[in-house]
Amino acid sequence: MAQFQLSGVRKSFDRTHVLKGIDLHIAEGEFISLVGPSGCGKSTLLRIIAGLEDQSEGSVRIGGDVVDGVRPADRNLAMVFQSYALYPHLTVYNNIAVPLRMRRLSTLQRAAVLRWLIPGTRETEDRIRSDVEDVAKLLGLKDLLQRKPAQLSGGQRQRVAVGRAIVREPRAFLLDEPLSNLDAKLRVHMRTEIAQLHRRLGATFIYVTHDQAEAMTMSDRIAVMMDGNIIQIGSPDDVYDDPQDLRVAEFIGSPKINILDGGVIDEARGLVFGSSRFAATFLERPGTSVRIGVRPEALRLANAENAPFSGRLAHKENLGAEVLLHVEIPDQRAAVIVRFDHGGAREISIGDAVGLTCSPEDLRIFGASGERIKAEVEARKVAHG
């Protein structure tokens, strides 16, 4: 078990800067997710931590020791790969045993011929056997030990990959999109399994994913990465409720946060968007255009006449337990999505005029370049039209 300290980590390939100065501290036993769209550098960062890739600048410390230039195998980290990376020619048992054999047996003892003649081989192999069997029991792989990877289902392969990682009790686990090759149902199930595994082992988990739902459901902390930078780091609740950047707000949460165009009005120092005006205490200069984010579940239906904003129901997405209403609001680029419980939206039909309201504390205001603006918005609607 170990804590990680990344300082000023940069990485460039030729002239493209993949990582632009990453500072990150990961506490012992923490489950941290590196999340972001593809190409944001999250996998490169993980590979640098693993030692599979060298950083161009900066340093990585594990448990207080600088590990730059230390070979991957000597960092004592375990990694679960997206493609599982199981050795196709080895049985499940041997796949899980490889890291133990590489560590506990000498080259001579691993040689195919005469290995049993070397003192200690049998004892070590016996210990390896009991360790592998323990892990197999833990992951429900006991009956599959003699199979080859090709004979396993996706979920089983995934478990073997996890087994190979946990068997040698590494200092930390690095997981690189481990669920993205599974079907949707299994993915949800494995989320729970991995989270439980983390709780049981109490080890540090560094988890890379492009799926914000995975990051939200499993992590203690989430680091959102864009274009080679960590743009926000915090607990799932923090990141969801208090996004510091428009890109974070848009990336986290499904369905996506609604973004409305608005502006700061001169005289009342109020906020305008669409055809509505709100009173607001602002630090921004009047005339600044802003973007207002509001989560789909923060919106409520209201009387179309005096609701802060109103529009027309364009589409209803029935998800069973809830309904997503797509409301087209004049002057706004995209339809606003409202999350509703199923019963409440039954009477509204497509084409109806719909009024929407929300609590002012649910509005998130962002500047033109995406930075978060602190503002207090009042509930009162100042004017109409």
């Binding site: 070979r71 195998a73 990694m79 493609s83 990376a85 199981l86 050795y87 190979r164």
Partner: protein, 277 residues
């Protein structure tokens, strides 16, 4: 199914294919039939599809007595197996480096490999012959084997295969503590068995059948490979005694044909897959 086989088209198809098959097999059939005939039945002015008098034992005994056929076959095995083993030993690490390692000059090395594929062995026979002459290794097993230990095509083929092996697998092996050399033999080799088998079939068939280089490289009968051996036998017996000559030819082609009949799919895949050369 029956209806299909009996349809006029299907009957015509089989008729044509069987006729062609018969023509294709004729040299084999005639070779074997002749190897069973006594000399009196060989020099006949009529077609005799099956000998009235079987001379199997006589012809084959004579063949083995007059030419060291066992020696030729043994040489064939030694030469082809050693060539393939050395090709694999040299090509696999190189292919791994070209496919999975990043290093300065990689593209240049790969370009060199591609260029070497273009070189036909016959075109460089003269300088290689002179090189071996000055090295004093003509007329040895080394002369038969060494020129083919480097297979640029093998490197290319295995590199293309290794490119399809996920990088994750190599990284996982590094995380597990396997060295780069270990990765070649313990991780890449086992995954490459199908490609290596195909290449092996190609290599062994090509060098078992090769006539040009062994003809040049060796003089001593005890080093003859099967094709050179049987050609020499023919030159000594020319036109006089076809029975034993056909028996010898049958013996020389038998190993490959039998291996082929046992694993037809593998052979066809191997030779066409690698035979692009």
């Amino acid at each position: 199914m029956n209806a299909r086989i009996c349809s006029p088209w299907e009957i015509l198809r089989h008729a044509v294919l069987l006729t062609v098959a018969a023509i294709v097999l004729l040299p084999f059939i005639w070779m074997i039939v002749t190897s069973l005939k006594p000399q009196s039945e060989i020099f006949l002015s009529e077609i005799r599809w099956w000998p009235e008098q079987l001379h199997v034992v006589e012809n084959y005994t004579k063949a083995f007595e007059r030419a060291p056929l066992v020696r030729y076959l043994l040489n064939g095995v030694i030469v082809t197996v050693l060539i393939f083993a050395l090709q694999a030993l040299i090509a696999l690490p190189a292919a791994y480096a070209l496919a999975k390692l990043r290093f300065w000059g990689r593209d240049a090395v790969f370009a060199m490999v591609l260029f070497c594929i273009l070189i036909p062995a016959q075109a460089i026979a003269v300088p290689v012959f002179l090189l071996f002459h000055h090295a004093g290794i003509l007329d040895t097993y080394a002369a038969l084997i060494v020129p083919f230990t480097i297979s640029a095509f093998g490197i290319f083929l295995m590199r293309q295969f290794f490119l399809t092996v996920p990088d994750d697998l190599v990284d996982a092996a590094r995380m597990d503590g396997i060295s780069e050399f270990g990765i070649v033999w313990r991780v890449m080799l086992p995954t490459a068995i199908p490609a290596l088998t195909a290449f092996g079939v190609f290599s062994i068939v090509a060098h078992w059948n090769d006539y040009f280089w062994p003809l040049i490289a060796v003089n001593s009968q005890e080093l003859f490979t099967p094709p050179v051996g049987v050609a020499t036998f023919r030159n000594e017996e020319a036109g006089t005694d076809y029975g034993p000559l056909m028996a010898a030819a049958t013996v020389i082609i038998a190993p490959l044909i039998i291996a082929f009949l046992l694993a037809q799919r593998r052979f066809i895949e191997g030779i066409t897959f690698s035979g692009m050369k």
